[in-house]
Symmetry: C2
Subunit: 239 residues, 2 copies
């Protein structure tokens, strides 16, 4: 059941059968959320962390003028609020952008892991710092790339991450977001997002129909995005 998490970890380091077993044993209470439902609300202090097993979710903040900024997109295998284990309080909400299947790890159990399983602890720590690396990449894209490049970059990133957890087939992946949600992730208006999408479509770089994205020309997309997957740390080494 926690295969995507194990896939995420095994893309970065070896994980013993015993460690995988241990993780399995503390991730419990499977639950479904509907589209637009909050998995976690801003300001809450959940005594557990949430592992996404299927679907797409987003971390977001609403600012005072009512605008929303999405700060991260999450897919199967992502521990969406693992950072709340050291942090305790959620400084943002997490919403399901599609139907989501999740399971939970109690913070008490995570504390026990941190007391007895140093290697596993470092792997969980690793997951949170990769989140940070992705945040930095988003900052760079928002600040210093064209919107076209930024959008292409986001698709490249999702493609690479979804591949790791086996959610890509025939260069396609399920992507049931609305354009407004994508606009909120890039920090631009809906209208401008729509026009930016057309730029990518005009280059025959990708297609997005029936809630499915198909990469038509990976080289072109990668080049528009100036995409370098290094920040995702997709190579096995001792951590």
């Amino acid at each position: 059941m926690i295969e995507p998490l194990i896939a995420n970890l095994r893309a970065r380091d070896t994980v013993s059968a015993r460690e995988a077993q241990l993780l399995q044993s503390i991730i419990v209470r499977q639950r479904r959320f509907a589209t637009d439902e909050d998995l976690v609300t801003e300001g809450s202090r959940p005594p557990y962390s949430t592992l996404l097993l299927d679907g797409i979710a987003a971390r977001y903040r609403i600012v005072e003028n009512g605008k929303r900024q999405i700060t991260a997109l999450h897919i199967a295998g992502d521990f969406v609020d693992l950072h709340a284990f050291p942090l305790k309080t959620m400084d943002h909400g997490i919403v399901a952008l599609s139907p989501c299947l999740v399971a939970f790890a109690d913070h008490g159990d995570l504390t026990r892991i941190s007391e007895n399983e140093p290697h596993l602890t470092r792997l969980l720590w690793l997951l949170t710092v990769i989140d940070g690396a992705i945040h930095r990449e988003w900052i760079v894209a928002m600040g210093r790339r064209s919107k076209k490049s930024h959008l292409a970059h986001l698709f490249c990133e999702l493609f690479a991450r979804l591949k790791v957890v086996g959610r890509v087939s025939d260069d396609s992946f399920s992507f049931p977001l609305t354009q407004q949600e994508l606009a909120d992730a890039l920090g631009i208006s809906l209208v401008h997002l729509n026009k930016t999408l057309r730029l990518l479509r005009n280059e025959n770089a990708l297609q997005w129909t029936q809630r499915t994205v198909t990469v038509l020309n990976w080289e072109r997309l990668e080049q528009i995005a100036e995409f370098d997957p290094g920040y995702l740390n997709l190579h096995v080494e001792p951590r």
Copy 2:
């Protein structure tokens, strides 16, 4: 010598004398860097992490058109590349924006802490997730705030963080950056940064002369920024 780090930690949890001592013992080899010198270079794999003891440093990335984006500003007490302990490879550079004094913690010693000191490990983990929280706040500011509000927010954040490590007196702090560097942090052009600064000056919110920032009207600045320091996690609780 590592007082600012201890101040940072004690603003978030209790740290025993023994733990402080232990940290002290692994943070070694003090060194100075001149302005514009790289503390850490992109792509390197340092076998140690760098604690900033004095000065201001920035994480940055250069994109292909030659533009630079600063993704984080660091001050005394910040472990500027602690995330490279789990990550191993630096996906960005870190540059001194003023003369900097630093010291180093070998990754071997950090591994030993992760094996024997679960609480201290969680505290170090905490520092990296607070970095992540700051990144998210920057994403929100870049995407959904006006530039004036974004700039005010950055000053509010620095003010709050510098206070924790005792670098604020009389509502003033040393801030020897150039306007180009600030522009690179906000992701805007130098000219526009200059004009945005004037907006804050016109409101008598703050003053920035002789490499020193003085907050003239904290309430107004906070209000322009819609600043809520929650994300900095400046309260003591068991982690």
